[in-house]
Symmetry: C2
Subunit: 150 residues, 2 copies
């Protein structure tokens, strides 16, 4: 989204990337972003891929058309997510708690809570270091890879 | 819901309790069930209460009107939840995986995924015993009670 926002000659801040996301969805449907990703994935030739930042079940269903998918949710409370975003400070991150809540509402409107609820696995990022979360993710993915190995 | 379904002279099976829930929401709004609960809670005189089975943020907001609330999600994959329901075998539990998925869609339609996504804490019930989940819940609730103690 940030890439596409820049391509359109706009600053990739929270408001513009949000607008661009909604515009692309309106034009290409709910699975639009997943369709764009699938092209990049196919071109890469990789047989195992991690996709970060799914926003709706439509996207998950799109990936399931051409791959076996494990859906992993990394969960944190709104308060904790806001603190982590402030630490990260990326160009499209919301600047105030009010903007953050507004972004949450926009993403909930797209359906982001459904893949969280229907995930195959959930990890809490409430009280853990990035290293601990990352270790848990690797463990889950490895277990899953072993279970679907040909 | 099962109580109310029986009161209406209907068998409290999966289909009837679902219908009754939707009927009550249509009549009394999205927070209907929470409003009914709040009456029971006030009557009890208890100062700390655990409410199980929240279905939407409207219900959470209703509770927040008269209490400090910690929102705790216990998460499991659809496959795991179905297995647990089959073990429990309550009168209103779905009998087939298709009925289960239909119930999920109905509850997602009410907005059940939003309080999961916006929860203050999440516990995974994917690979744990009931005792382990229960222990984690107690730990989280006690930590929270200590933090809001007067």
């Amino acid at each position: 989204m940030r890439e596409e926002t820049r391509r359109r000659g706009l600053e990739p801040d929270a408001s513009n990337t949000g607008e661009v996301m909604q515009d692309i969805r309106r034009a290409l449907g709910d699975a639009a972003v997943a369709k764009l990703c699938m092209k990049t994935i196919s071109d890469s030739g990789a047989d195992t891929v991690v996709v970060d930042g799914v926003r709706s079940m439509a996207e998950v269903e799109e990936f399931k058309k051409s791959a076996r998918v494990i859906l992993l949710a990394v969960h944190a409370s709104p308060r904790r997510r806001y603190a982590l975003l402030r630490e990260r400070g990326r160009s499209d991150d919301p600047l105030t708690y009010e903007m953050f809540l507004k972004r949450d509402q926009r993403e909930l409107g797209v359906g982001i809570s459904v893949p969280i609820a229907l995930a195959d696995e959930v990890i809490s990022n409430e009280h853990r270091t990035p290293e601990e979360v990352s270790g848990q993710m690797t463990q889950i993915v490895n277990r899953w890879l072993a279970s679907v190995a040909p």
